[in-house]
Each structure stands twice: as structure tokens, then as C-alpha cells.
Subunit: 306 residues, 2 copies
Amino acid sequence: MSNDLKESFAHEAPPAPAALAAKVRTLAPSMTRSMQRVAEAVAGDPAGCAALTVTGLAELTGTSEATVVRTARLLGYPGYRDLRLALAGLAAQQQSGRAPAVTADIAVDDPIADVVAKLAYDEQQTLADTAAGLDTAQLGAAVTALANAHRVELYGMAASGLVAQDLAQKLLRIGHIAYAHSDPHLAVTNAVTLRPGDVAVSITHSGTTGDVIEPLRVAFEHGATTVAITGRPDSPVSQYADHVLTTSTARESELRPAAMSSRTSQLLVVDCLFVGVAQRTYETAAPALSASYEALAHRHRAAPRK
Amino acid sequence: MSNDLKESFAHEAPPAPAALAAKVRTLAPSMTRSMQRVAEAVAGDPAGCAALTVTGLAELTGTSEATVVRTARLLGYPGYRDLRLALAGLAAQQQSGRAPAVTADIAVDDPIADVVAKLAYDEQQTLADTAAGLDTAQLGAAVTALANAHRVELYGMAASGLVAQDLAQKLLRIGHIAYAHSDPHLAVTNAVTLRPGDVAVSITHSGTTGDVIEPLRVAFEHGATTVAITGRPDSPVSQYADHVLTTSTARESELRPAAMSSRTSQLLVVDCLFVGVAQRTYETAAPALSASYEALAHRHRAAPRK
DNA sequence: CACCGGGCGAAAATATCTTTCGGAGCGTGA
DNA sequence: TCACGCTCCGAAAGATATTTTCGCCCGGTG
């Protein structure tokens, strides 16, 4: 009961979240000298003050705990504790506000933390670009072909070869026959054996890698369904591709070779293919997935619970 | 003095500001039941929890104050008070930030366009989490070791094996001696030949893959510098690692195996290592890079003029 | 010069957080 | 199955931080 009175009196309903600096300015004139000192410190360095206890802030401003609490009250908070929380929030907002300042190229003398931030940002950008630029019709067609394929052969060299292997591994896990080839000779001889109903996939960022174009051509001519994953949809590789999936091309720099972002982009495409196939063949894919988990269980040491 | 030991063990240097959800996921498996309850509440409703005292949160989660504090510690904060501040910051960020995008799991009947969007978003999230959770001190140390290494050997199985190969390929391109191994037997026999000045890197998401722990142990015992890239910093693999680089753990679902996001995360770490090494050895790395470009030129067909 | 009133801080009172300690539950090996 | 040892967990003591109380001090005033 006595609470009712108390609450109705504290009509400063919403404690300001971010509009704190403004509130300080508004209320400053009505503050006493000591309180102004506190308010000033708070407005000037929210992050720093958030790290301080009442006592700490009192000392910093050369005042007392009581004054700090009074100031917090004046600013509309129930006490210092809540002001401090608001301060932490404000600091976090400011922090995140100036985040996207890392678009610059990576320089030789960048500190390691910047490298991490820039790389992460660039790769995020690459993912967004790829997703935006992906032709879902082509993707759907490719998924259909893969899902119904009797056999899938993947061709890719160097970094793209790893992407090919990644897809092969995943398709194998859900019971599809899929192999990746990095040896140009074997790739071609392998392509010769393909027939209608089989699928060949070539992965090349430039679209001009002869070593993966050849097997795709052979596969194409033997009647297999062919898919190209490339950053250049108008490149030679597309000639022999029934379905072309376009990866994005990010600007590269000396310290960030194109292989990096093209790989990210290719992997996203490959993941989409995989999930698409898994969806279409869910009946067999799901049990195959869990079976492969169990089969590997004994190769893992007991996990530490603590 | 006795403190030194204690602190050096708690090498989780920076209390996470916004990467809290990621940290919860990373550490959740190593948590006890009660602590998981707390972590869950915290990750689920940062704003709500920020308004609660230790006692309040303990009651909400049906646990005790002690457990709440323990959880806060595990997450890298000195105590609950600091976790609470971080929570307030997180809440403020979420408030100001845009709405949470398509966070839903991928369903069997999702149209292909949704699959693309969800995968892209999830991978972006993974990148952000990884970047936020990466310990730059450990990363820097690992880079230094790699840059000065006489020889680098990489161990990884299945998907992680591809990541290992990716790094090996890139290091080779800038003139470093680096090889990736996927054959457990060869890996161990190879590790035996390592000596001080050499570097061994094991990549395993679970941290429990015996096949890559063994070679790392052997390398460690032979005096080589060892690095572990894992999603579980407290797992067995870390035992033999001079430097532990933590990758993020995303929630997985049936159609989105953990391998997908862990691979993304691992690749970011590996890219950071590569760029770091390239920076440190720029004098030799730069010419090596352009030389390898030229060497491959003749394997590309004429690019289409338009 | 005595008085008054509000601003202010020291210190008590309270709330909150941290640590300690021992009991309960659980897996392990005999 | 039972005893053992282990870790997990919460109650309560102990330490900090916050809020409140109380009265001094200072400047203005009659």
C-alpha cells in the first residue's frame, strides 16, 4: 500500500536508454555544482563510467557516493545501479555504431585484430553478394539433376578442388555416388564414362581453367547433365554447361587473393546444392546422415564434460 | 606468484561484448546442467536478465546464486556484475540493431530461395561470431610461430582436412613449406620427424578426433610448436596445443550439419593465419604470389572479351 | 552577529554479489 | 550390489557495492 504512493510520485516513467546525453544537457542547469561534475563525467565517457562503482565515480569526480546517487535519480533512474546499466548499453551502441569502418584493404602493417575484422567483413559481404546474385531457377534445376543423378562427378583444381571435394563428401554422406577429381587426366578419362542421367559439375572461378573445362565438355558430349559453378557466367566453361551457377567476385588485393572470396562464394553455392538435394531425397538422406554419425563415434575420445 | 598460474590458465582475456550468444554456444557443451539453464536464459533474453539481480536470475532459472556466478565466470567475466553490464550492452545493441533475420531452421519443404537466404544468413552469423570470439593474442602467437617455422604440418580429417589443405595450398604459394595430412598413420609417422622450430596444426571441430590428436601429441612431445583450431577450447586436443584458436559453434539442424558452419569458421581462422603470415614475410611472400599467378597463366583459356 | 536553508559528504544501513563448505547425486570398479 | 570417489550444486557466511541517514558547513539574510 505504501508503495502506491511512492510509485505514483516517481512519474519519470521511462529511464532514458540512449538519449542520455540530451537529458544531461537539459537537466544540467538545475543541478548543483557537484552533480554537474558527475553528469559531465557520465556524458563524457559512458563506457569508462560504466566500469566504475559508485565509490569509483565519486572519487573520480571528487564528490561523494551520495551525490552520485542523487545525480542518477535526477536523470530519471531509480538508483546508480540502473544508471550504470544504461551507461553500458549506451557504450555498446556507440561501439557498434562505428563498426563498419573496416572496409579498407588489408595493409601490410595492419594489426592482427584489424585483419580479423576486415576478413570477416569481406567474407560476409561475399556471402550476401552471392546469395543475392544466385539464380534460384538454375539452382533448382541443378538440384533436381543432382538429386536424380545416377552418379555425380565433380571437377575442380586447387582451391576449387577443395570445394568439389567438400560437396563430394557431403553427397556421399547422404548416400549419393559422388567423387571429386583434381587430376586433369583422370578427370577426362572419368568423364568419358558418363552417360545420360549422370551429372558432371565443374567448379572454376575464372571460368577459363582448361583442366576442368575439358572434362565438362566430354561429359556434355556424352549426354550427361552438366553444371558449371563459376564467377564468370559468360566464360568458356558455360559453353558446355546445362546449368550455370554464378558465384560472386569480390575485389581482391595483394594480401587477399581472389581465391579467398571465390572459395567462400563457391562453398555457399555448394551448400545450397547439398541442402537442396538432401531435401529432395529426405527419406534416404536423413537415416544416412545419422548412420554416418554413429559410424564415426568410436573415433572420438570422450568429451570432457568440464 | 600463485596467482600467475591461475591467471595464465584463464587465458580468456577479453570478456565478450556482443559475441555473447556465440560464446554461450561454444561453451555450452562443457557446462553442467544448471549452468546451461542459466546460460540459456541469458542468451534467450539478455534484456530481461540484465534487469535481474543474481538472486533474481537464480530464482528464475531455479538454481542458486553460486551457479549464476559460476556461469558468469565461465563466460569470461570476473563476476555476475560484469556479465550483467555486458547483457545490458547486448540488449541495447539488439534494440538499435535491425530485427533478427530469418533465424528459423531449414525445413524439408523450404523453397530453394529460402534455403539460400537462410544458409547465407547463418554463415554470415558464423563469421561474425568467429571474428568476435577469436583470441587475437593466441592468433598473433600462432602467426609468429608459422611465419618463423622451418616446416609446417597440418592435420585434419574429412571436412577439416579440406580446411587443412586450403591453408597448406596458400602457405605453399607464398614460399612456406606446408603439407596437410588426412591419413592418420602417415600423420603420426610424419609428426615424429618434427623438431623445435617446426609447427604442427591440428584442426578438429569437436576437439575429440583421436586421429588428429595423436599427431599433435607426438609433435608436441618432439618439441615442435603446436596449434589447435577447434570449437571446443577445453577439449582433449588443447592438451597438446601451445596455441588454441577457437572457432564458433552454430546451432545445427538435421539439414544443416554442424560441419557446415564449423567449416566456415575454420576457414576464417585459417585465412587470418595466412594473411598474418603473409604480412610478416611480405618481402618473400609478395613475389612468390605473383610468380604463382604467372605460372598458372597458360592453363587458362583466353578470357571472353566481354 | 545570530539565524536559516540547502548542498554536501561521512558513515550507518541495506542490498547485492562472492566465496566457502558440505551434502547429494552419479558413474566406476570391485 | 555396494562402496568409493568424483563432481555438481545450493545454503549460508563473508565481502562489496549501493542507498539512506544525519548533521556539518557554507553562503545568504535580518
